[in-house]
């Protein structure tokens, strides 16, 4: 499987994502933000970081970058696109997924392990995953997911809520919500579920010597669903 990771100026999880994708068997290429076309890919990843410094609303400038048109085109044709952290913020700014990511509830950057419960219904990302309560890692300032009630309802009806913050037993509550996200939402799909935007970083938890190894389940499962 071929993947592409886009590097925006200010991206800082591009290498980590490259390492993770290759570890699990993807043939990955790095793509520069000023390029106009994405090389032939089965998966495109928008990595975490602070694209263009994020001095405006996070992700807003990246959503107007050169490469983004071909990302949108790729996604509209049904191609798999993942946005992690800043990548999720960029997906929101392009309109590829619904909602908004506000400043964290307690106005602080948060870096820690959290648990999420994955939505295993028909989608390439979590369907058949061996473990659906995953210990992943978050590191963000603006991950407080919000959307209108109508949007929330239609996303729920269409099973578009991808991952929700929970505790180690899968219990979803205020207590397990790190940043104030509505309905503990940590990540969402677009309508066709070929696009996944989420705040947690699976690429940082891919070895038992790291803070968790659960990111491995994510990548292994995705690869096997893509084959």
């Amino acid at each position: 499987m071929k993947s592409s990771v886009i590097i925006f100026p200010g991206s800082n999880c591009d290498r980590d994502m490259d390492v993770a994708l290759k570890k699990f068997g993807f043939k990955n290429k790095m793509v520069w933000h000023n390029d106009n076309v994405i090389p032939k890919s089965d998966l495109v990843v928008l990595p975490g970081g602070f694209s263009y410094g994020d001095y405006l609303r996070c992700g807003s400038i990246a959503a107007k970058s050169n490469i983004i048109n071909s990302v949108i085109e790729f996604a509209n044709k049904g191609g798999l696109v993942i946005g992690i952290c800043n990548g999720f913020q960029i997906l929101i700014e392009t309109g590829l997924v619904t909602g908004a990511l506000l400043r964290n509830k307690y106005l602080k950057f948060i870096c820690k392990n959290i648990f999420v419960k994955a939505n295993k219904t028909q989608n390439k990302y979590f369907n058949k995953i061996k473990k659906d309560i995953l210990e992943l890692h978050i590191a963000h300032n603006d991950g407080n997911y919000f959307c209108s009630e109508d949007d929330l309802k239609s996303m729920q009806d269409n099973d578009q809520i991808a991952v929700r913050y929970c505790d180690s037993n899968g219990e979803i509550s205020e207590y397990s919500n790190p940043n104030g996200s509505i309905q503990n939402i940590a990540g969402v799909f677009n309508e066709k579920k070929n696009i996944l935007g989420m705040m947690p970083h699976p690429e940082r938890v891919i070895d038992s010597c790291l803070s968790s190894n659960d990111g491995s389940y994510f990548f292994e499962n995705l690869l096997s669903n893509m084959k």
Binding site: N12, C13, R15, K108, F109, R204, C209, S211
Partner: protein, 731 residues
């Protein structure tokens, strides 16, 4: 241009004599631009004029030292052609005036010092010190500094893996912010700041130059008074995004051999970077200041030379490489300008609109800079306090423990480090909160451990012992995670060197740290001195901060301090003599602040450390933690909290009082957890190496159980430990 006179020189922070010396050396009066350059190069921050004499004595050599002090950062060999570049630096004065930007640019500056040498930064650390929690400024300063450190480090994408925070009223009017960075480089790809060759182009890259930070270096060497707020405009403003671009662009240019010398524009900006590169290469340098990219209109040569705008670099390139270099900086959207060349004049010659605006022999700025042999006062070892049974009457170990765990200097600093990205780059295998932070050397089996430490109250009580103690504690923290200690960097924060007491503290702390550094073969490879940490003539407690770096050959051999399995046996390696003076127990519980700090026995320190490291390498230890603030009991409680396990203490039968046993801060000790079946083997090794040890208890589930005292739930202790800072920052 205004005529320079003695008054203007004094306004620039120069002393009368110094101004006289400048005129004599130049054989004329300097013009304003030249005066600005002299004042920047001759101030304490750049010239080390009060400290040089003593720093020369430092132990800076060792088998693994590739580069000692004198470069942008120190470099050590970690095998397989890999090297680690590291340094610590202070940003105290700016952080007190404007905590967010002061701390942020402190991080930015130290990162640049490291990647200037060709290394990719792989870890940040920091040591931050605030006034008493009850001081009305403390909370907002702490919040600002933490957000500033996080704001910069998180954005650039370098993990902050360890740190230290303390509170003491001596920092009420002068906080300390010390930032440390480690970078990884191939041994044959290290870049230095020594210029070489004539007529080589001098290149300016990075951000544009603005009016921010003019005379920042002079401010850093000034004392604080009531008017300090007026200095706000001299604090630089950081832009981590541009720094990230600069980092990537520099590393890209460094892939081949286009660069002859490179130096970041830190304190005293273009002045010190150009003078240092030329001085090291014994060359002259000619700069055309109208070619410097400026952010604001009508900037004068004076302002351009003294601006401390951040995220800028000066490079001496090989001839003919300009086009290629420009392409790289264009790609990263950074300014690039050829602003001058190297010459054989041995002078710094500045032009602006074709007029010569300054001409100073480089030697006068570096070699001829003043060097003082300041008067210093020797300190006496304070009398030991006699603690008796009466002192401990009515005390319960469990109550004392609760109080100590919730005290500002011992409590969990999770509120702080959760705001730092400590996992970006995907190689962090030990996060903040342990004895040392550990990152893997990307793509290899090796890992690097790093820690920062300081013990101001020990140093204040007796500088010589205090100086030794910090080096030993740094060494112990590295050993406790299974790393072989290699080298240190120091950040020497002191009061006014013109006062014999403060100068004495400096001289004796340096002597102490040097003695320990020599004995432990733990050389100093880089560092910085920050004097004049005082407000309204009251100095801070002497606070040398030591950053230590160690190597773990196989990262899978790293250990952590959390207790692992019930049934394992807990031992304390090293002798507990019961030294309570200057301990947290004496201060927090008995309200006794006098007395000498614990004694350092370097032989035991080395012997115990080496044995513990051997036990770790032989996989005989499940968890380890050095005994420091709060003694054995506090140390064990922390191991319990981290491991969500408890301990059943054996009945205490020692000769000293149990409070002395459990809370004294004798040095050179480690708490280790050993599997039952390995206890005999471990005892044998300890005996063979003449290490004193005590068996003190056994790991159990969730409680701490001490004879004759109520059982303590570890969950509750964890809350005590964590809640103090959370509550303090929220209220």
């Amino acid at each position: 241009m205004i005529e320079v006179n003695e008054k203007i020189a004094i306004d620039h922070g120069l002393k009368k004599d110094e101004y006289k010396k400048i005129c004599e050396l130049l054989k004329r009066n300097p013009n304003l631009t030249e005066l600005g350059i002299f004042s920047a190069m001759w101030n304490e921050h750049c010239s080390y004029k009060s400290s040089k004499k003593h720093l020369k004595k430092l132990n800076t050599k060792g088998k693994k030292v590739i580069q000692g002090p004198g470069e942008n950062a120190g470099v050590i060999d970690i095998g397989d052609d890999d090297a680690i570049v590291f340094k610590i630096e202070s940003h105290n004065h700016p952080s007190f005036i404007e905590p967010y930007q002061g701390a942020a640019t402190g991080v930015g500056g130290i990162l640049r010092d490291v990647f200037t040498m060709g290394a990719r930064p792989i870890a940040n650390l920091n040591s931050i010190h605030f006034g008493s929690p009850s001081n009305k400024k403390t909370k907002s300063l702490l919040r600002g500094v933490v957000q500033g450190i996080g704001g910069y480090g998180n954005c650039i994408g370098v993990p902050t893996i360890a740190g230290q925070t303390s509170f003491d009223e001596s920092y009420n009017g002068n906080i300390l912010v010390n930032a440390m960075t480690l970078g990884l480089v191939k041994k044959d790809k290290i870049f230095y700041s020594k210029a070489a060759g004539l007529n080589k182009p001098v290149i300016y890259v990075g951000s544009k130059t603005g009016r921010d930070g003019i005379h920042g270096a002079s401010m850093a060497s000034a004392k604080f008074d009531d008017k300090i707020e007026e200095k706000k405009p001299t604090v630089q403003v950081g832009d981590p995004f541009t720094e990230k671009l600069l980092l990537e662009a520099c590393l890209e240019l460094m892939r081949d051999d286009s660069i002859i010398a490179i130096q970041d524009m830190g304190a005293a900006g273009l002045t010190s970077s150009s003078v240092e590169m030329a001085s090291k290469g014994k060359l002259g340098i000619e700069l055309h200041l109208d070619k410097v990219p400026c952010r604001e209109k009508n900037m004068s040569p004076y302002e351009i030379m003294l601006s401390e705008s951040q995220e800028r670099m000066l490079i001496v390139l090989e001839n003919g490489k300009e086009k290629k270099a420009k392409e790289i900086f264009d790609k990263w959207n950074l300014d690039f300008s050829v602003i001058g060349k190297t010459t054989n004049s041995k002078n710094i010659e500045l032009y602006f609109d074709k007029n010569k605006v300054a001409n100073i022999p480089i030697d006068l700025l570096s070699e001829e800079a003043p060097e003082y042999d300041r008067k210093w006062k020797k300190s006496k070892l304070p009398q030991k306090i006699k603690f008796t049974k009466k002192n401990f009457k009515n005390l319960k170990i469990t109550d004392v423990l609760k109080k100590i765990l919730a005290s500002p200097n011992v409590c969990s600093k999770e509120w702080i480090w959760e705001q730092y990205d400590h996992t970006v780059m995907g190689d962090t295998i030990q996060k903040p909160g342990g004895d040392a932070g550990v990152v893997r050397v990307h793509g290899s089996e090796k890992a690097i451990a790093a820690t920062v430490d300081s013990s101001a109250s020990y140093c204040y009580a007796h500088p010589l012992s205090g100086g030794k103690q910090i080096v030993c504690e740094t060494w112990r923290n590295l050993i406790s995670v299974g790393a072989e200690p290699i080298a240190i960097t120091n950040c020497l924060n002191f009061g006014n060197p013109e006062k014999p007491e403060n100068m004495g503290e400096f001289v004796e702390c340096v002597e102490g740290l040097n003695e320990a550094s020599k004995y432990l073969n733990f050389p100093v490879v880089s560092g910085n001195v920050s004097f004049y940490n005082e407000t309204k003539d009251k100095g801070i407690k002497p606070t040398p901060t030591i950053g230590g770096v160690g190597l773990i050959k196989k990262y899978k051999d790293m250990i952590t301090m959390d207790l692992k399995e019930t049934g394992n046996i807990i031992l304390v390696v090293g002798k507990t003599e019961g030294h309570l003076d200057q301990s947290i127990f004496a201060k927090e519980i008995l309200n006794e602040k006098k007395g000498p700090p614990p004694e350092i026995n370097l032989f035991n320190e080395k012997n115990n450390g080496e044995t513990v490291l051997k036990l770790i390498k032989d996989k005989l230890i499940r968890s380890a933690h050095d005994v420091s603030l709060g003694g054995i009991m506090t140390g064990i409680a922390k191991m319990c909290i981290k491991g969500k396990k408890g301990i059943n203490f054996y009945k205490y039968k020692g000769l000293i009082d149990k409070f002395e046993f459990f809370f004294s801060e004798d040095q050179g000790r480690y708490i280790i957890e050993v599997k039952k079946e390995n206890v005999d083997k471990v005892k044998k090794i300890l005996d063979k190496n003449s290490n004193h040890y005590d068996l003190i208890g056994e790991v159990i589930e969730g409680n701490i159980s001490i004879n004759d005292e109520p059982t303590l739930s570890v969950d509750k202790l964890a809350d005590y430990n964590k809640n103090w800072l959370n509550k303090y920052m929220v209220n």
